[in-house]
């Protein structure tokens, strides 16, 4: 078992593995995006109160979920990297950060576009919106810290401690709508009991959620491959790849 983990954690092995995995992630991702968007934007009925504008949830909600999912995953990588000193964990977290930041940005922007007609304002400083904005700054902070420190190992350790400190924000984002009075409505799906959304609207949302997840892993795998090549550019196996004409 340990031997297997060691082999899996080696950049060279993972580079090949990620390459084989890529089409198996990318193709279902494209199909699910097409199906989810069609179901969500064409098939699903309008909302009893919000009419057609509610359809932005098919982008807003999955990206908000992913913004938190990616962060938690990065914190897990940080933990693995700090305790077991696995090189691959650093590569995975570094490659994840811009994707997670993009999801966060997308969630904030779509929420703002939704808020203007529904609430009557682009932005309010309520607990949910503010904590999501802090998440965006945590992503920026992680990226900035990593590139600000010259020594790669020190940079990674400092950045992973920042990641672990920021984990406290994740439950705050999730429970903000329950702990405090906010303008943002409480959870529709991620709660105990029945989701407060009609089945015909729920199915496209779940399809989109899976599509977003696959999108993340597709982009992650190709970014990780690029990151590995860049880091291992002086090793023999990369040189062989280059001279063999495989790149």
């Amino acid at each position: 078992m340990w031997a297997w983990i060691h082999r899996f954690g080696s950049p060279r092995y993972f580079y090949a593995f990620a390459g084989k995995l890529l089409p198996w992630l990318a193709v279902p991702c494209i199909i699910l995006f097409a199906v989810g968007l069609y179901l969500g934007l064409v098939v699903a009925p309008g909302d009893y109160e919000q009419g057609e504008s509610y359809r932005i949830i098919y982008v807003h909600v999955p990206s908000a979920w992913m913004s938190m999912f990616v962060y938690v995953l990065m914190a897990v990588f940080a933990t693995i990297g700090l305790i077991w000193r696995v090189k691959l964990a650093e590569v995975m977290a570094t490659a994840s950060a811009p994707i997670g930041a993009s999801f966060t940005f997308l969630a904030l922007v779509t929420g703002s576009i939704w808020g203007k007609p529904m609430w009557g304002t682009w932005w309010v400083w309520d607990a949910r919106l503010t904590s999501e904005l802090i998440l965006l700054f945590l992503y920026f902070g992680f990226m900035a810290l990593q590139s600000a420190i010259g020594d790669r190992q020190t940079a990674w350790r400092a950045a992973s401690i920042l990641l672990l400190v920021g984990v406290v924000n994740i439950p705050i984002i999730h429970y903000s709508v329950e702990w405090w009075y906010t303008l943002h409505q409480p959870a529709t799906i991620a709660k105990f009991g029945k989701p407060s959304i009609h089945v015909s609207m729920l199915i496209p949302l779940l399809v989109m959620a899976v599509a977003f997840k696959l999108f993340y892993f597709t982009v992650l795998m190709s970014r990780v491959r690029a990151e590995i090549l860049q880091r291992e550019r002086r090793t023999n196996w990369v040189r062989e790849l280059v001279s063999g004409g495989e790149l």
């Binding site: 009925p45 309008g46 909302d47 009893y48 109160e49 919000q50 509610y54 949830i57 933990t79 700090l82 305790i83 077991w84 007609p117 529904m118 609430w119 009557g120 304002t121 309010v124 400083w125 309520d126 607990a127 401690i161 672990l164 400190v165 984990v167 406290v168 705050i172 702990w179 405090w180 009075y181 906010t182 303008l183 409505q185 409480p186 959870a187 529709t188 407060s196 959304i197 009609h198 015909s200 609207m201």
Partner: protein, 146 residues
């Protein structure tokens, strides 16, 4: 697990738990400041700040909306079913504003106890359903009441 790794694991757990406790304490201390709005009951109990603007959140009471002719001035009650606050507002209301709808309004209490609003935001709920489903639900609940 070797001792070095155990030590590092301990450090990570200590860091996360420590920060968690610190932030919990902090958020508890600032509880009042994080609240986006007060409820009408809190206003009735005198918990809302006097002399400077704050927000009230609640439902627009049914049959309370009165529009003045020839202007954008509108009066309505915001209620949490226990208590209600009379609100006066001049301006354009959001699309979702209607009787029975959740809203958040910003303004100040005048000496007559009327809340003079400078901003009215609609707060939509977490329920999503097609109009037919909403109709059916409504019909079912009126049937039950009869």
């Amino acid at each position: 697990m070797r001792t070095r790794r155990k030590q590092r694991l301990f450090m990570v757990v200590f860091l996360v738990v420590g920060i968690g406790i610190a932030v919990t304490l902090m958020l508890n201390a600032f509880k009042q400041n994080i609240l986006f709005f007060f409820t009408p009951s809190q206003v009735a109990a005198g918990e809302a700040p006097v002399g400077h603007p704050f927000r009230i959140g609640g439902l627009v009471a049914v049959n309370s909306v009165v529009r003045e002719d020839g202007s954008l001035v509108v009066h309505f009650d915001v209620t949490d079913t226990a208590n209600a606050v009379r609100v006066a507002y001049e301006g354009i209301l959001p699309d979702l504003f209607r009787e029975g709808q959740g809203i958040v309004t910003k303004g100040q209490l005048d000496d007559k106890g009327v809340f003079v609003a400078s901003e009215v935001l609609a707060k939509h709920d977490e329920n999503y359903m097609p109009p037919e489903a909403a109709e059916a639900l409504k019909a079912a609940s009126t049937l039950q009441q009869d």
